[in-house]
C-alpha cells in the first residue's frame, strides 16, 4: 500500500521537475511592459513611512513615491502588488511582479536570486542616548553599557568590532527602548532609521551617532536576468539624481517621521551614488 503511494509521489515530483525545466523565462522585458501598458510593482502595504496604505485606502510612502514616478516615466499604468518581507523574492522568481520596491536591502545572498538595480536609500546603525550624556563618537562607548536587541545587525557589529563595549541585550525592540528609558544603559543602537524616528517621539534623547558600521543599501530589484528592465531602471535612477528626486521624495514622505533637524543625506542616495 505504502509503496505505490511513494511511487505516485515520485512520479508527481518527476513531472514537476520536467515542467520546471520546460518553463520558459517568464519575466517581462521592458518592451513587453511598455506594450502591455502596465507595470506591476511590489510594495509594502503596512510599513510606514516606506510603503503603507493611508486611511483613504491610497498607497503612500518613500518607496511608493518612486514607484509612481517609474510608471509615469515609462508611460504606463502602475499596478501595485502588496508584498510582505518574507515573500518578496518569491514574487520576482514567479514573475508575479516586474519590480520589487519594498524597502529591499541588498545582500550578497539575495543578489544570487534577484537582480538589484542602483540604490536609492541607505541604512546604517545609529546610536541614541540621553541629551545629558550624549554619545557622539563610538570611542565614548568603551567600558559603557549599550542596549541592543538580540539577533540584530547592531548586536553582531559591536560584538565583532568593539568587544570592549558592554552589551545589554533585550529580546524585543520594545523592551530595549524601555530599558533605555529606565536608564539600564548609556545608549541604544539599532538601524539609524529606527533610532531617528524614536528620538523624535522621545524628548530628552538624541541620535548622537547617525551612521555607523557597514552601510546597507536599499535597491529596486527585478527578476534574475531581466536585463532590459534593469538597465532602464538604472538609467532612470541616474536621471532622477540630476533633479534631486530622492530629496524631494524624502521631504514628501520621510521628513514628518524623522523631524526638522534630521539630515536627509543620512538616508537618501541620489543617482545611485553612495
Amino acid at each position: 500500500m505504502k509503496r505505490w503511494i511513494r511511487g505516485i509521489a515520485l512520479a508527481l515530483a518527476l513531472v514537476l521537475v520536467l515542467a520546471s525545466a520546460a518553463a520558459a523565462e517568464g519575466f517581462r522585458t521592458l518592451d513587453e511592459i511598455r506594450e502591455s501598458g502596465k507595470i506591476t510593482i511590489g510594495l509594502f502595504h503596512d510599513k510606514k513611512p516606506f510603503g503603507y496604505v493611508d486611511e483613504y485606502g491610497e498607497y503612500q510612502g518613500y518607496d511608493v513615491y518612486l514607484a509612481r514616478r517609474l510608471a509615469q516615466d515609462l508611460g504606463v499604468e502602475l499596478e501595485i502588488v502588496a508584498v510582505d518581507a518574507p515573500n518578496r523574492i518569491e514574487f520576482l522568481q514567479s514573475f508575479k511582479t516586474d519590480v520589487i520596491l519594498a524597502n529591499f536591502t541588498y545582500t550578497a545572498e539575495r543578489a544570487e536570486q534577484v537582480d538589484f538595480a542602483l540604490p536609492y536609500m541607505k541604512v546604517a546603525l545609529g546610536v541614541v542616548s540621553p541629551d545629558g550624556a550624549l554619545i557622539t563618537d563610538v570611542e565614548q562607548l568603551k567600558g559603557k553599557k549599550l542596549i541592543v536587541s538580540k539577533g540584530t545587525t547592531a548586536e553582531t557589529f559591536f560584538e565583532q568590532n568593539y568587544p570592549e563595549v558592554q552589551l545589554v541585550r533585550y529580546d524585543s525592540y520594545t523592551d530595549a527602548y524601555l530599558g533605555l528609558l529606565d536608564g539600564r544603559g548609556d545608549g541604544l543602537s539599532t538601524d539609524n532609521t529606527e533610532v531617528l524616528a524614536w528620538a523624535i517621539e522621545n524628548p530628552g534623547f538624541s541620535v548622537g551617532i547617525e551612521s555607523l558600521g557597514s552601510l546597507d543599501t536599499i535597491n529596486p530589484a527585478v527578476s534574475k536576468g531581466n536585463e532590459t528592465l534593469l538597465a532602464w531602471i538604472n538609467e532612470e535612477i541616474r536621471k532622477l539624481g540630476e533633479e534631486n528626486f530622492f530629496h524631494a521624495d524624502y521631504e514628501a514622505t520621510l521628513r514628518e517621521t524623522y523631524g526638522e533637524n534630521a539630515d536627509a543625506d543620512a538616508l537618501v542616495v541620489e543617482g545611485g551614488v553612495i
Binding site: 500500500m1 505505490w4 503511494i5 505516485i8 514537476l16 515542467a19 520546471s20 518553463a23 520558459a24 517568464g26 509594502f44 502595504h45 503596512d46 510599513k47 510606514k48 503603507y52 496604505v53 493611508d54 486611511e55 483613504y56 485606502g57 502588488v81 502588496a82 508584498v83 510582505d84 515573500n87 518569491e90 514574487f91 522568481q93 514567479s94 514573475f95 508575479k96 517621539e201
Partner: protein, 231 residues
C-alpha cells in the same frame, strides 16, 4: 486615553475598508464551502467504492490535504504554478482552488463517515418493507446521513472561514490584511493594534456566531422528530 486607539477605526474610510476586506473573506469562504459541499459528496461516494484505484486516489488526496499546511498549498498554487507552468493565477482564484481542494476532501471524509455510521439494519429493514434502492436512499439513508453530517459540516465551514486569513500572504486584501495596513499606518499609537484586532475579531465573530447558532437550531430540530428530514 483609551479613545486614542479606537478612533483609528473611524479615520478616513478605514471602517469601510475593513468591511470591504470582510466581504472578500466571505466571498472566498462561501464559494469554497459551496464547491466543497458538492464535490465533497461525490468524493465521499468515490471513497465508498470497492475499486482499489478510486479508493487509493481518494486516500492520497486526503493525506496530501492533511499533511500539507494550507499556506504551503497556497504558495504552491500562487507562486509555484506561475513558476513551473507559467499559469499566473490571481490570489483569490488560487485561494478558492486550494481551499476547495482541502474542503472537498474533508467534506467527503465526513460524508463517508456519516453514511457508514448508519446501522446496517436500517437498510435491511427498509428493504424488507419492500422499498426500492432509490427509496431507501431517499427516505432512509439520506435524512439520517444529513443529520449526522450537519454539525461536522458546519464546523468545517467555520474552519474554512477562519483559514481564509492566510490569503493575505498571496496578495489578497481580506479583512486581516486591511487590519494590518491600518496598524502599520498608526504604528506610533500602540493602542491602535489592540482596537484593530478587536474589530477584526468582532467581524469574524459576527459571521461565525450565526452559523454556529444555525447549526445548533438545525441539530435540535432534527432530533425532535427522527424522520423530520424526510418530510
Amino acid at each position: 486615553m483609551p479613545d486614542l486607539g479606537i478612533s483609528v477605526l473611524f479615520r478616513g474610510i478605514n471602517f469601510q475598508r475593513l468591511l470591504l476586506g470582510l466581504w472578500v473573506t466571505l466571498r472566498i469562504a462561501l464559494i469554497t464551502i459551496g464547491v466543497s459541499l458538492v464535490l465533497g459528496l461525490l468524493f465521499g461516494l468515490l471513497m465508498l467504492r470497492k475499486n482499489r484505484l478510486s479508493r487509493g486516489f481518494c486516500r492520497l488526496w486526503l493525506e496530501i490535504v492533511r499533511f500539507m499546511p494550507q499556506l504551503v498549498l497556497l504558495y504552491l498554487v500562487y507562486f509555484g504554478f506561475a513558476r513551473l507552468f507559467g499559469w499566473n493565477l490571481d490570489g483569490e482564484l488560487s485561494a478558492v482552488l486550494v481551499f476547495s481542494f482541502w474542503g472537498t476532501a474533508e467534506m467527503g471524509d465526513l460524508f463517508r463517515g456519516a453514511l457508514t455510521s448508519i446501522p446496517k439494519h436500517q437498510r435491511e429493514s427498509a428493504a424488507a418493507l419492500g422499498l426500492t434502492r432509490a427509496q431507501i436512499n431517499r427516505y432512509i439513508l439520506l435524512p439520517q446521513t444529513a443529520r449526522r453530517l450537519l454539525p461536522q459540516a458546519i464546523n468545517l465551514s467555520t474552519r474554512i472561514i477562519k483559514t481564509t486569513a492566510l490569503v493575505k500572504m498571496i496578495n489578497v486584501t481580506e479583512v486581516l490584511k486591511v487590519g494590518q495596513q491600518i496598524i502599520g499606518q498608526y504604528y506610533r499609537e500602540p493602542a491602535a493594534a489592540f482596537w484593530v484586532y478587536a474589530a477584526v475579531f468582532l467581524l469574524y465573530f459576527l459571521i461565525c456566531w450565526p452559523i454556529s447558532l444555525l447549526a445548533g437550531w438545525l441539530e435540535k430540530r432534527y432530533q425532535d422528530g427522527p424522520a423530520a428530514g424526510a418530510a
